[in-house]
Symmetry: C2
Subunit: 489 residues, 2 copies
């Protein structure tokens, strides 16, 4: 080997192999509906196909791609199948995938404005677009005192919000009492587990997260929140943070923002609003009621990587007071100092997140918004909600199933009237069949099935087929003659 030896892929080789991967994905998109949604492998099965040691010498790209089919594909749970109804979706689209590809090809770091000005400025700009697209409060715009930033997930957004709240509360507490009080935070048992994790990470302690009672719709009870805050103040704690959910993971419950926000304003508590999946619905004017009261929030996030056709990771996180966030997260060592930063005329997004490094994630969001246009996005979101509502109607009309919680948007919680064991069997049989994938929650202690309509390519026929399969399995489980209700209209 000499200094001129190269193992790198040349641009021409990249073109050839790149076409091959594009073809592979296009073919995958065309056939994914026919693959078993939930991977059917056993633990260890994939690893057993992999060689013990890394290869000493390079292998051909066609061999690598063949192994994707042979080794990887059987171990994939197909989140991009139109028959995926589990968890919350993590949907993608052609323009998003190509935006991610371009981001990888450019390979820039967006930690500072100067390390790629376009990475920062496109992100700031597209975040401002989103404020208008969802009719969010104008205070979340970079042109006001706030601003948006792409986080990898709603977990990270919640952690950043909690940290800013922690610092504000400490400051406030120090000013008033001379020492930092013990800080408390508030959510419901329906709130995403990332809040409890954030409390642990931030050193505030899981036990200081107060779980507020919910009403019959699994939404936070403002009176219970106010009572708990008063109780904690009386006990010497400093209430610092409330997380309200717009569309809980469990049942899409919508916490009442106006009442909660008024309490937070009165009590000087940071209000963070997590609309991870449901926020996307606000693209459509008829669903914007979910955000009523959002003008009282200090921070807000939703995930275009859930329901807005933008592949993970892309959480859109907004703050009303960017200074509070930056003051919390900014550390500037010598090797990152530069004139642009010193001038104060630019945003350095490393001060808006936990990590230093960051990809050019705004590209995929920009591609998605421009490819679909607002009208295209609205159309598909509306259609998903319509299909979920249709499904809820079939459940309500059924004699053997019941709707278990309000279904305001695209998630339907439902269960067979036969009890937990029956529901568990129905779910296991459906998921093992590979025909569709759905997951469960517990509501009032009862096992409840969840069906989310949010995968990019889910259409009426997939939801219809799912309902037929659910009924068939239920009949099998309960040893009744299959009773498939008439659902075609």
């Amino acid at each position: 080997m000499t200094a001129s030896t190269s193992y790198h892929m040349t641009p021409d080789e990249f073109r050839t192999f790149g076409y091959a991967v594009i073809d592979w994905i296009a073919d995958y998109q065309a056939r994914v509906a026919t693959l078993p949604v939930l991977s059917q492998v056993q633990p260890g099965e994939i690893r057993a196909m992999l060689p013990d040691a890394a290869p000493s010498q390079g292998e051909s790209f066609s061999d690598i791609l063949a192994d994707v089919d042979r080794i990887i594909l059987p171990g994939v749970t197909h989140w991009q199948s139109p028959n995926f109804f589990a968890y919350f979706p993590a949907n993608t689209s052609g323009p998003a995938i190509l935006g991610e590809l371009l981001s990888a090809g450019l390979g820039v770091q967006g930690m500072l404005w100067i390390t790629s000005p376009a990475c920062t400025e496109l992100e700031t700009h597209v975040m401002d677009w989103l404020v208008d697209m969802l009719a969010l409060p104008q205070k979340f715009k970079s042109t006001a005192a706030g601003g948006g930033v792409i986080q990898d997930s709603a977990s990270s957004a919640a952690l950043c919000a909690l940290l800013a709240a922690r610092e504000r509360a400490r400051q406030f507490s120090i000013n008033r009492t001379g020492e930092a009080g013990q800080l408390t935070a508030y959510a419901t048992a329906q709130t995403h587990s990332s809040i409890e994790k954030a409390m642990m990470v931030a050193g505030m302690g899981r036990e200081r997260l107060r779980l507020i009672d919910v009403d019959a719709a699994y939404a936070m009870r403002p009176d219970a929140l106010a009572a708990q805050i008063a109780h904690d103040r009386g006990a010497g704690f400093t209430p610092a943070f409330v997380c309200a959910s717009i569309g809980t993971t469990s049942s899409n419950a919508i916490d009442p923002l106006t009442a909660i926000g008024e309490i937070c304003q009165r009590e000087h508590i940071w209000l963070h609003v997590d609309a991870a999946m449901a926020g996307t619905a606000a693209l459509c004017p008829e669903f914007r009621w979910i955000h009523a009261g959002l003008e009282l929030a200090d921070s807000y996030c939703f995930n275009p990587h859930k329901w807005m056709f933008t592949n993970f990771d892309c959480d859109a996180f907004f703050v009303a007071d960017r200074k509070a966030l930056i003051d919390t997260l900014s550390i500037l060592p010598e090797y990152l100092r530069n004139e642009a930063t010193k001038s104060g005329a630019v945003i350095d997004y490393r001060d808006w997140q936990i990590s230093l490094g960051r990809r050019f994630r705004a590209l995929k969001l920009w591609f998605v918004i421009r490819h679909y246009g607002v009208e295209g996005l609205q159309h598909h979101v509306r259609e998903h909600v319509r299909l979920a509502q249709e499904f809820a109607g079939w459940v309500r009309a059924s004699q053997t199933f019941e709707v278990a919680a309000p279904a305001p948007l695209n998630l339907v919680c439902f269960r067979h009237v036969g009890g937990d064991a029956v529901n568990q069997q129905i779910m296991d049989r459906l998921n093992t069949s590979g025909d569709l994938y759905l997951t469960h929650t517990r509501l009032d202690g009862r096992l409840t099935l969840r069906l989310v309509v949010g995968q990019t390519h889910t259409r009426a026929e997939h939801v219809r087929a799912a309902w037929e399969r659910i009924q068939t399995e239920a009949a099998q489980v309960t040893n009744q003659w299959p009773f498939v209700e008439e659902i075609r209209q």
Copy 2:
């Protein structure tokens, strides 16, 4: 519009536009060396070219791609230029980009084993490969009590390590004294800023990070560490965490692991080792001395996304005791429960990181390792080190420049003997020219230039041209006749 209206890209459209993006990247790779490395735009210049509002109606993909050239490209600082010598590299390669593309195309979530078994098992397996490839301690393997996981960055790895250390120290402290002591952590002023940030995030307080004195090579002094620990114990603190660096960002200083590790073992302190860039050197047996003493560490990370041709984000984080990490980070709500998790036979990587969601990042690492083979990776790492050493030799032989710190691998810290103002001017002129990009640090209070050889396509001619340009600018700044030393051999 009807229910059958679709704004989605069809597989065939995806194929067409996908080829176009692949072509764009291949062309970019072929011409990137000719583009100004540091973007030359002014703050706000990119945003000014973007429309105020998102488009109502979708636009053609060719219009979008044309705007990448027109709007985005001028605002890109070219991290993938062979003339990029700044910061630490964030290098990429053909196989890595295509692995990222495939990951986006599959669009799976790897939060739980069951949400895509291949995503988890390939990651575990490739992490084990890396242990052998770098000759790391076997205890970091998943087949021992440890294991590896891909984090987005060394910042996140350090935070996870710190959290596990915090919990272990609290447990230990509670057992011994009945209450959690005040926890302290240790690093040097040369340690990456992410440690200070992690202290803030974890609620341990920046002021509890003790900065230990360094020796003449900017490496941690074990005697000073031991003294500070003793002092803190005497003052009622509980020392909990030491971060040692293998290759600091400032000057590639290498902290003495054996001496530090022995102190940590004796004092029951968690030792985290951050080898973000330099760790990759251990692919080559002749550079493995940098890891001497690593068997005493509790956790370790290096970034294949810096110097191992795998695009960001890909930090390889290893722990010796995975239970300590999982016990710290695990929270399991009902909607994530499943049989595979309950059986304990699988890894759920959500318990190894801050966020819940995660991409299929092992694919790109697998592609890179298989495409290059270990020998290919070794070749290019060796070549980078050789070029940096050659550059250091030119600096040492120069009458106007001096080497400012030991240069053990691929980073050379150097400066003009004329002082800070001269060095600042040289750097500004070079960076403004667009011919190359380098950044600075401060060593002993003096402005020092840094040249890192780590970009994928940096070859001898690029380093040679950089040295010529540096000398030319120095001569201009100091008003001397250009004096270019004879460097061609």
